[in-house]
């Protein structure tokens, strides 16, 4: 870190009670920080599992007409991979991050409902365990979208789909309770002076994430309940020969499934909006526009679900409506990207690993956004839908929008969570490897789709360049995996041997840096009055004023400096 003339405030936050010790304390904890850590560690384990499944998929596709896995196992692999990454990694990882950071960012001592918070985590874990228990019996093989009639008991009578249904119910309930908790916390527990226009953008994104979950989760919960009763209790909700409708499933699923995309990327947008200003040393460009764009994306995201259904028997008027609403989403999304570049513009950019991941996210997400416009044009989608072009698009959106931003958050907040710095050197290598690996894996998949390769096929004939393209993609996936592994090594190394971080190693802007690292159970002794979007800048200025410029204020504890 560049040494700075501005003194860094040392905060004397003391633990209010004795810290709980031992492994049982992790089972009984209701502290938002511990729950956050539980979430993040658990989801990362699922991330690694999902990654291994992805590598197996890529190995199978590494050669034309390959026989590495059977068609049955292949279908199980992509079902596990998709479901794991979405329901057991990205969404709960965002919940974990938000759990740890939101109370700190808004100057609260905990979440609004600490016990409910713990329940959220344990429900999530139960969902993951139930789902992965199916590995020992028969994992589901209908894809993460479990489209009926394939997922009904006529075609998949074994318990795999049921395990998937229970996962949706349990993680859904977990997300729903968590969302209510986040909403209540952000609305009610902000520090004095933190008006809506001073709310950190990460909290805006979590507020929106919570609202989307509250709207979307009940719909999928209902949809899978109907599937469950169709499978076991003789109902016919999705059975066309008894007056049911397979299209009903697609509508209900995607009414949840599309907002789910924004549930997965909006918190990442929030992370980027926190990290960029810190390392560009410049206020966020167009705060109000970014906050408004977040809410607008969420609203429009509720109107576009049928763009996943452009090839179903659907009236023209619906196709046109959904095309236009999908186009409209590109506007606030574009606004955000321009605002982030505006934040970098005229700044003094420090290339920390966290910033690199944010910038890598912008670079990659632009591609995902642009290919999204192709897919929104429904006649073009008729060609691209359900091909590898879509696989490429969604991974540009999610590896960029979610994985890269999650890694940015890890590098940015690891010092706060553990009190130790991660190695910047390993971090930069990890970023470079992941960035290259990601692009090698997924850029070529656009061509695979354009060359006629559908999704979810366990084998293909070597027509045209299909085998070559697939091999490039397979090589890329291993480069990407190496990059992830470097960060795992980095984290494990730094937990014991990392440099001690101190309360504010990055000279951050927001309140989490106004307490020790890691923060005590009560977070803050004194909650400062917030006077701007960047309260730490005000606090540092105040420290400067009291101690005289240039004086090292390492020892000068100023609790509630501007209170």
């Amino acid at each position: 870190m560049a040494t700075s003339a501005t003194p860094i405030p040392q905060i004397a936050a003391h633990s209010a009670g004795r810290e709980e010790q031992g492994w049982t304390s992790w089972l009984t904890t209701v502290d938002h920080k511990r729950i956050g850590i539980l979430y993040m560690v658990t989801t990362f384990v699922f991330f690694l599992l999902g990654g291994v499944e992805a590598l197996l998929i890529r190995l199978q596709l590494g050669a034309a007409n390959n026989n590495l896995v059977t068609p049955e196992v292949y279908n199980q692999l992509f079902t596990l991979h998709g479901t794991t990454m979405i329901f057991l990694f990205v969404v709960p990882m965002m919940a974990g991050l938000a759990n740890y950071m939101v109370p700190l960012l808004i100057g609260a001592r905990d979440m609004a409902f600490p016990r409910l918070n713990a329940l959220s985590y344990w429900l999530f874990l139960a969902g993951g365990v139930v789902f992965y228990a199916s590995l020992f019996f028969s994992p589901p093989e209908a894809g993460w979208i479990s489209t009926v009639p394939l997922s009904t008991s006529t075609y998949l009578p074994n318990g795999g789909v049921d395990a998937w249904i229970f996962l949706i119910h349990l993680t859904g309930l977990s997300s729903l309770l968590g969302a209510i908790n986040f909403y209540a916390t952000i609305v009610n527990m902000r520090a004095p002076g933190m008006s809506w226009s001073r709310l950190p953008l990460f909290c805006w994104s979590i507020l929106t994430y919570a609202l989307l979950l509250i709207v979307a989760i009940p719909v999928i919960a209902g949809a899978v309940t109907l599937l469950l009763t169709d499978r076991h209790f003789g109902t016919h909700f999705y059975d066309p020969s008894n007056g049911g409708s397979p299209l009903l499933w697609q509508h209900l699923f995607w009414f949840f499934g599309h907002p789910e995309v924004y549930i997965m990327v909006l918190p990442g947008f929030g992370v980027v909006s926190e990290v960029l200003p810190v390392f560009a040393r410049k206020p966020i460009f167009g705060y109000k526009a970014i906050a408004a764009a977040t809410v607008l994306i969420a609203f429009l995201g509720l109107l576009t679900w049928a763009h996943h259904m452009f090839t179903t028997p659907t009236p023209l008027v619906v196709l046109i409506f959904v095309m236009i609403s999908s186009f409209l989403i590109a506007v606030p999304t574009g606004v955000k990207i321009f605002n982030w570049i505006g934040t970098l513009w005229s700044g003094t950019i420090e290339f920390t690993t966290a910033l690199l991941f944010c910038v890598g996210f912008i670079a990659v997400f632009v591609v995902g956004g642009i290919t999204g416009v192709f897919l929104a044009i429904f006649p073009v989608d008729w060609q691209l839908n359900d091909t590898y072009f879509v696989v490429a698009h969604l991974h540009y959106v999610l590896v960029g929008g979610s994985v890269f931003t999650i890694f940015a958050a890890i590098y940015y907040w690891f010092p706060k969570i553990t009190g130790r710095m991660l190695s910047e050197r390993i971090g930069r290598w990890s970023f470079a490897t992941m960035f290259i690996g990601m692009n090698v894996t997924f850029l070529i998949q656009h061509s695979l789709g354009l060359d006629g390769m559908p999704r979810r096929v366990y084998e293909y004939d070597n027509i045209g360049h299909l085998q070559l393209y697939n091999q490039i993609s397979t090589v890329g996936s291993f480069i990407l995996a190496l990059g992830v592994l470097l960060t795992v090594v980095n984290v494990l190394r730094s937990l014991k041997n990392g440099a001690v971080a101190g309360p504010d190693p990055w000279r951050g802007n927001t309140l989490e840096w106004f307490t020790s690292s890691p923060p005590p159970v009560n977070n803050f002794d004194v909650i400062p009055r917030v006077r701007s979007l960047e309260p730490m800048k005000d606090i540092r200025r105040e420290v400067e004023r009291r101690t005289g410029t240039g004086a090292a204020a390492e020892a000068g504890a100023v609790p509630g400096a501007v209170a």
């Binding site: 068609p71 279908n75 093989e141 489209t147 009639p149 394939l150 075609y155 409708s245 397979p246 299209l247 560009a280 410049k282 206020p283 966020i284 460009f285 167009g286 705060y287 526009a289 090839t311 179903t312 028997p313 236009i324 186009f327 506007v331 574009g334 990207i337 321009f338 605002n339 570049i341 505006g342 970098l344 513009w345 005229s346 003094t348 950019i349 290339f351 910038v359 670079a363 632009v366 591609v367 642009i370 416009v373 044009i377 429904f378 006649p379 073009v380 008729w382 060609q383 839908n385 359900d386 354009l450 060359d451 006629g452 559908p454 999704r455 096929v457 366990y458 084998e459 045209g464 360049h465």
Partner: protein, 301 residues
């Protein structure tokens, strides 16, 4: 920084690069089909989709280069250096309104282009003069079942089942249509003739897709989906099921075999004859089996 003057080598190089890039882009679709553009060339709707895709691609490339270029420039230009002071700007309302409107205008443009192209992609044209002569089936037209302007198309029923496509052709003599000629996997069609497809499924969701003949359409049990194609060049057009339909989804192939109309008529006639013969043979062996087992009174309907 030195600004290139109108005649400087830098300026010339920029122009040359620009011209080369434009030329490459114009030449691209032919050379790069299947790499950066979708497959086409079998049917006018596929060609129009590829065309719409290409227009979008050009606009997208400009935006891609613009945004990524600005990002890279900003990262390079504004990296932290000794003595550099970050500008404490909070925003710029007119600039922000400008790029919001700019993004909206680009998307408006894309909407207009799509609407202009839409009819050529969705609505089947009349068969060509060299096509099969057909009776009008205008009575079948609904808002979803699009037919050519003169109401004459060859209607083929496409039925998806795990893991094969079954095609039923017009030409049954019984009112119930059960004796209509049919085939599996390979669909034989006449050239220069508008073929309209009624797509459905008898088990799970499938998706009909022959890349060179236009987009894909899901076969959903309980529903009928529609598309069309009109092939001018005889030959084989290959595709496969595009929606996960079970373990052997990857092996559910489809081929459209386009032949001259006379050859098609001969094929259908032969096919009907073969099917009738096979039915008769089956009936005969059923009768023989019934007699053998002594259940002479059992009649197969």
């Amino acid at each position: 920084m030195r600004r290139p003057t109108p005649n400087s080598p830098g300026r010339k190089l920029t122009i040359a690069c620009g011209v080369a890039a434009c030329a490459a882009l114009i030449a691209a679709p032919q050379a790069l089909a299947g790499i950066v553009t979708p497959e086409a060339g079998g049917s006018p709707n596929a060609d129009e989709i590829a065309n719409l895709y290409n227009i979008t691609l050009y606009i997208a490339l400009v935006i891609f280069v613009g945004v990524e270029g600005t990002l890279i420039y900003a990262l390079y230009k504004f990296r932290a250096r000794k003595g550099a002071v970050p500008a404490q700007i909070h925003g710029n309302t007119s600039l922000e309104i400008g790029w919001t409107v700019g993004a909206a205008v680009v998307l408006l443009l894309l909407s207009v282009v799509t609407f202009v192209k839409l009819d050529a992609i969705r609505k089947p044209p009349n068969s060509g003069s060299g096509g099969l002569s057909l009776a009008s089936n205008a009575i079948y037209a609904t808002s979803e079942t699009l037919l050519p302007p003169n109401g004459r198309s060859l209607r083929i029923k496409v039925n998806g089942q795990q893991y094969v496509w079954r095609y039923t052709y017009p030409g049954g003599k019984n009112p119930d249509g059960l004796d209509a000629p049919y085939s599996y996997e390979e669909m034989v069609v006449p050239t220069d003739t508008t073929v309209t497809l009624d797509i459905n499924s008898q088990d799970v969701v499938h998706s009909w897709w022959i890349p060179q003949l236009g987009g894909k359409f899901q076969a959903v049990p309980g529903y009928t989906n529609h598309t069309w194609f009109k092939i001018s060049k005889p030959g084989f057009y290959r595709g496969q099921c595009a929606f996960l339909c079970g373990r052997l989804h990857a092996n559910m192939l489809a081929v459209v075999h386009a032949v001259p109309p006379a050859e098609y008529e001969a094929w259908v006639a032969q096919r009907s004859k073969d099917l009738a013969a096979a039915d008769a043979a089956a009936q005969a062996s059923r009768t023989a089996l019934s007699k053998q087992s002594g259940a002479a009174s059992v009649q197969n309907p």
